[in-house]
């Protein structure tokens, strides 16, 4: 095993442990952690299996293996960002409804107090 392999294995495992800890302590919700768990698992697999990158690139017809890494990583980042925008939009609309209900209820409450 080469030095760089040991470093990448160590780092990916550390990252995986960090993500798992975040879920256990309740700081990260499971549904948002899926993508992190999958990507760190892929990292761990490819750190052990050094030839893997070359094999997969060859199958997909990509000449330079690093290109595969960038393509896959950027694609996943875009998908995840879209997922986050979706969550923000949902939160915003829920927040709006809650604010409106709050204002209406407060008015009702104050009217009852006056009577």
């Amino acid at each position: 095993m080469e030095k760089i392999q040991i470093i990448t294995i160590g780092l990916s495992l550390l990252f995986l442990i960090f993500v798992v800890r975040l879920i256990i302590t309740g700081k990260l919700r499971e549904e948002y952690s899926i993508v992190w768990i999958i990507s760190t698992t892929i990292l761990v697999v490819f750190s052990f299996w050094r030839k893997g990158l070359d094999v997969v690139s060859h199958i997909m017809g990509i000449y330079s293996p690093p290109n595969l890494v960038f393509t896959v990583a950027i694609f996943m980042i875009f998908i995840y960002l879209l997922h986050l925008s979706l969550i923000v939009s949902k939160l915003q609309s829920q927040n709006k409804q809650m604010g409106q209900e709050f204002a209406l209820l407060k008015q009702k409450l104050e009217k009852n107090k006056d009577e």
Binding site: K96, Q100, A103, Q107
Partner: protein
């Protein structure tokens, strides 16, 4: 006939009191059953304390929702409390209450669901800036292209809707810059829309919700919103 007059207010401490008393005086002189609903969109100035002392229903939003969210809060109140008509009047004093009669006449006697007070049909009163007029022309063209109705002043916030329209907007009303977009919503829901000429004044206080620098963003955002609203309603109905 219960009429709600909804006044969205964001930092309108200078103008709001006169706007509300203008409407209340109008109600008194015409003996109409009008309730003023002021929606305070989480103002950072003294608006909240001022409206608490006025003769109106005060709805104080805990977070800033923007003009659309604020107006929708008023619409929800009007719907839940069984009002027959809801009229929107801007909180900055641009819309004189005396023009309510013109909107009301079109709804009550001619049976229109949505009545928009326009400053362009009859060229009277304050006519707004050149860039804004250009935007209004553009939206007029866009509305005509999509739903084939001609509204000369689709950015006008002076409008009346009846209960049929209230039922729609209590569930869906655009957040940001709602005026041009809501016309699409109304017409795709097959509501009858009419534009009547009204006289408007220059704003007495506050700043426009559309700044000079954000004009471009405004056009882009509203264009997108109009197109997507159009597609959404078209697809939902399956026609």
């Amino acid at each position: 006939m219960k009429i709600a007059v909804i006044v969205p207010a964001y930092n309108e401490e200078n103008a709001i009191a006169s706007v509300v008393s203008d409407i209340n005086n109008y109600a008194k002189s015409t003996a109409l059953n009008i309730t003023v609903i002021v929606v305070n969109d989480c103002s950072t100035d003294n608006t909240k304390n001022i409206i608490a002392k006025l003769k109106c229903v005060a709805l104080n939003l805990p977070i800033n929702l923007g003009i659309g969210g604020a107006v929708q809060t008023g619409y929800k109140y009007a719907y839940e409390n069984n009002f027959d008509y809801a009229i929107q009047i801007d909180g900055d004093g641009q819309h004189p209450a005396s023009e309510i009669s013109k909107l009301l006449a079109a709804a009550v006697h001619e049976g229109f669901d949505v009545v928009i007070g326009s400053r362009f049909i009859a060229k009277e009163g304050f006519q707004s800036s050149a860039i804004r007029r250009f935007g209004i022309q553009y939206f007029k063209w866009l509305n005509r292209f999509l739903v084939n109705i001609i509204i000369h002043d689709c950015t006008s916030g002076y409008r009346l809707i009846n209960r049929k329209a209230l039922k729609i907007v209590k569930n869906y009303y655009p957040d940001e810059y709602p005026e041009p977009e809501s016309i699409i919503v109304y017409s795709l829901n097959r509501l009858k829309i009419k534009e009547v000429p009204v006289i408007m004044k220059e704003r007495q206080g506050g700043v426009s919700s559309i700044g000079t620098f954000s004009s471009f963003y405004y056009m882009l955002k509203v264009t997108l919103a109009i197109l997507f609203t159009f597609l959404r309603i078209k697809f939902k109905k399956g026609n």
